[in-house]
Symmetry: none
Subunit: 201 residues, 4 copies
Amino acid sequence: MATGVGRARSAGRRRSADSHLAILAATRELLSEVGYSRLTVEGVAARAGVGKTTVYRWWSSKKALALEAVGAARSEPPPLTGDLRHDLRAAMDAMLSELRAPFADTLLALAGDLLRDASEGADPVALFDSGRDVLATAVEDAAQRGDLPADVDDQLVQDIYTGTLLFRVLCRRSTDDVTAKLVELLVDGEMPRRTPEDQDR
Amino acid sequence: MATGVGRARSAGRRRSADSHLAILAATRELLSEVGYSRLTVEGVAARAGVGKTTVYRWWSSKKALALEAVGAARSEPPPLTGDLRHDLRAAMDAMLSELRAPFADTLLALAGDLLRDASEGADPVALFDSGRDVLATAVEDAAQRGDLPADVDDQLVQDIYTGTLLFRVLCRRSTDDVTAKLVELLVDGEMPRRTPEDQDR
Amino acid sequence: MATGVGRARSAGRRRSADSHLAILAATRELLSEVGYSRLTVEGVAARAGVGKTTVYRWWSSKKALALEAVGAARSEPPPLTGDLRHDLRAAMDAMLSELRAPFADTLLALAGDLLRDASEGADPVALFDSGRDVLATAVEDAAQRGDLPADVDDQLVQDIYTGTLLFRVLCRRSTDDVTAKLVELLVDGEMPRRTPEDQDR
Amino acid sequence: MATGVGRARSAGRRRSADSHLAILAATRELLSEVGYSRLTVEGVAARAGVGKTTVYRWWSSKKALALEAVGAARSEPPPLTGDLRHDLRAAMDAMLSELRAPFADTLLALAGDLLRDASEGADPVALFDSGRDVLATAVEDAAQRGDLPADVDDQLVQDIYTGTLLFRVLCRRSTDDVTAKLVELLVDGEMPRRTPEDQDR
DNA sequence: ACATAAACGAGACGGTACGTCTCGTCTTTTG
DNA sequence: CAAAAGACGAGACGTACCGTCTCGTTTATGT
């Protein structure tokens, strides 16, 4: 969203956009390297080759900066195909690509902060929204097509998928077969079974 | 003792249980009031009527202190009844009582930190373990009784339950009917439906 | 004296002369009030209306701060007149004005520290230099004029004067007639006699 | 033992001369090694193999401890011979043996502290008393014999000798010929001259 | 011979100050 | 005349000692 700033301006803003992007890139790099709790605004400014003033001109705090940095790291949402199982899996893969290291700790830390500062109107769920949108659309489509009941609790479905994947990333175990099992569970009512590669635990 | 030198003795003043408990209590109070990110060790010491040194003597950092404070807040695990649906619900209720405010933000923030500092051997999942243990036992029991398939993926079941509840708490919406729907989904393969009270969204 | 810091840097805010002076003034005040051993950097910062960081930005320690504070308190050296007796007395008066309370304890404490940390290249004698320079010049002049022998041990003369005055201040007795007696002793070989005001001891 | 302390107590363990001496010895060692400002009571207790309590049982503070430690290091005063020049030199040699490292910094630091805390009735001059006593007796004797004027200002003579030697130690230069020159100056009114070994400066 | 009680080692305690770090703001100078 | 460089006030960090206060243990009386 903020990446389009300066599009309509002629001069003086071009350099601004450069700084803008350099700051976001530096933030992402440092988040990957040291994590959210050891991220410092001075470090970001130094890495971006920019003054601290410039960082604070556009972001009110370290929190806001990290928020946009992980948000801007989001990939394009996958297109819907109309195949419910495929679309659900694609949505989960999109989520996983965001949740995976190196940003998982940042997302959790930010979620903790936002949860506490609910007075600011911030909604922690928004942190995990990009994958959820795809998911919501897929479920709605399926409900309209009749592949899912019309009164399906799509919000709970979203929460089950997001929450489970989030927790799996926390555990840092394999997430390879989780998407398949979650689809079977929801769509077919199929109880998840252990697969051979689970045996070593 | 009677045989000669009393080696088991260690002279000096012992750790004062009073200070210890006062510090943990103060930590829990302040976590409730201001949240993890605004928690300060100096504040804890002042509230507990204790020197900062005493806090650092027993806990190496604010993180370790918060970790024990939220851990010590855990309630007794509910007893198993042998009724699968009831036991699952009881386990989830136990989880919810820990996840709910005022410690949800602390747990997330700590999980973020622990995830990053995996080198210290800390496991973020341990933060959510107490409810998970009950759940694991309930699922194992049911598998042995034949109420669930013998090869049920109990770990995934745990992650689905823990993750979904965690995410629900994040959203701060009602979690009242979630436990029922999750039980139906897992045990009966029943797709979650919207209930009347979901209509206002 | 002016420190000479503040030569042209590449860019950015320069050192604030206001803060700098406020810190030195606060240090001198507190040295007078509570002495060196009870001087705290936090107290200095508070009195100067300044952050602790700013103190530590320009002085590496309480010792360095006190060192500059008492050094900066030095008055202008008196001009030489060519009258040996007068010049010696003037030099001693200059010394006394520095040695006297409220800084005598600070000078001694600092001298003790510097003596121990000789590895840092610090020379405790420098603490007492300003008066010694005047003295040295006076003696050299007199030697060239022939008022004193050409091979007079000027360094010992300095040490006798400085040491005796220092010790007198330590004793906190009257120093009024000491300068006169010291001049007589050195210049005229006159043994010091008790004067009426010495009788009360 | 044989300290005579506590003789009148009714029962119980007496003060252990061993601990007492071990503490003083440890204090002197540490003063030599790290100096007064880095001396810690905990360090003394550890070095002496003693509990901190025991140190504080017999000395009220680090200052009092150091005071006694350097005092106890004093050597026996030299006997008077009746030869003024010899006695003066002997007195100065006694002073020098105390002033010299490793205790010079301690004496100065203590003097600074005592000077400030004059309210406690402490007299910094007492730190340098042992040599001064010999000196005072020598001067008094000489005055009675007629070797010095009857109204010689003996206090100033003491201060000149003590102060000059103190300052010489501060400068850490050779003090070998200083005693001779000071005797000549006082007794013969002889202006100090540079000697060959002074030339290198 | 035993009871008594002071002195002991160990070290936890409430504090104070240290010197460092980062925050978010403010000011100066340069390109 | 914008933005870099970076000084600034504020305040928490974790450490080091301070001097006090229990803890049991040890040990020399003095019955």
